[in-house]
C-alpha cells in the first residue's frame, strides 16, 4: 500500500523537474479559459464589422475590457506553455532555446500591446 498520491510521485521527475507544475498550470488556465472564451467570442464576433463607433462603445464597457484583458493574459500564457511543449518535442539545443525565448517574447509583447490598446480605449 502506497500512501503517496499520483501527483506527489510525479513532482520533481523528468529532466526539467518542473513538468508536474507545468501540467498543473495548463489545467488551471484551461479551466479559466473554458469559462471566459465563449463570452469573449460572442462579444468580439459581434463587434467585428459593426463599425468604429459601435466597436469603441463595446470595448469601453468595463466588463468587456476586463474580460478581454483576462483572455489575453491567461490565453497567451496558456499558449506560451503549450507552444513550449511543442518546441521541446520537435527541436533541440540552441535552436530550441532561441525558439522558446522567441515565443515568450512574442506572447508578452502581444499581451502588453493588447492591454495598452484596452487601456487607451477605456480611458
Amino acid at each position: 500500500m502506497r500512501y503517496l498520491t499520483d501527483r506527489k510521485r510525479a513532482v520533481g521527475k523528468g529532466s526539467a523537474h518542473s513538468g508536474a507544475e507545468h501540467h498543473w498550470h495548463m489545467i488551471v488556465s484551461a479551466v479559466a479559459l473554458a469559462f471566459m472564451v465563449p463570452t469573449f467570442l460572442f462579444i468580439f464576433g459581434n463587434a467585428l464589422g459593426s463599425g468604429y463607433e459601435a466597436a469603441l462603445a463595446t470595448f469601453q464597457k468595463p466588463f468587456v475590457a476586463i474580460l478581454t484583458g483576462l483572455v489575453l493574459v491567461v490565453g497567451l500564457q496558456h499558449f506560451q506553455k503549450g507552444a513550449r511543449v511543442m518546441l521541446e518535442d520537435y527541436t533541440s539545443g540552441t535552436t530550441r532555446k532561441l525558439l522558446i525565448m522567441l515565443v515568450a517574447g512574442l506572447c508578452w509583447s502581444l499581451t502588453a500591446a493588447g492591454l495598452f490598446a484596452l487601456a487607451k480605449i477605456a480611458l
Binding site: 479551466v31 473554458a34 472564451v37 468604429y52 478581454t68 490598446a117 484596452l118
Partner: protein, 131 residues
Amino acid sequence: MAEENRIQRPLSPFMIGPYYRPQLTSMSSILTRITGNAMIVAVFLIVWWLLALAAGPEAFATAEWWITSWVGNLVMFLSLWGIWYHYLAGLRHLIFDAGKGLDIPTAEKLGWICVYGSVVLTILTVIIYWI
C-alpha cells in the same frame, strides 16, 4: 570538460506513419496541438484590431478592411473552428487527466464528439453572429 560528457539526448520520436497506424485518438490529439498553436494567427489579428481601435477611425478602417476581407474572413472562420475544436479537446484532456474515459470505446467516442461537436459549435456561432 563538460563538452566531453555531452551526449546526444533522444527526442520523442515521430510515431505516426512508420510505427503507428493513424487512428482517431492520435489524430484528434495532434489536431489539438495544431489548432492550439495556429491560434496565434487569430491573436495577432485581434490585437492588431484592438490597437487600431485605440488609434482612431483611419487605422481602424484599415484593420477592419483586412480582417473582414475574404482572406481575413477565411482565417477568422478557420480560427473559430480551431478554437472550438481546441476547446472540446481541452475538455476531453481534463476528463483524461481525471483518469476517466481512457478505455478505447469511450476515448474514440470522445474523439468523435470533438470532431463533430466543433463543427456544430462553429456553425451555431456563425448563426448567432448573423442574427
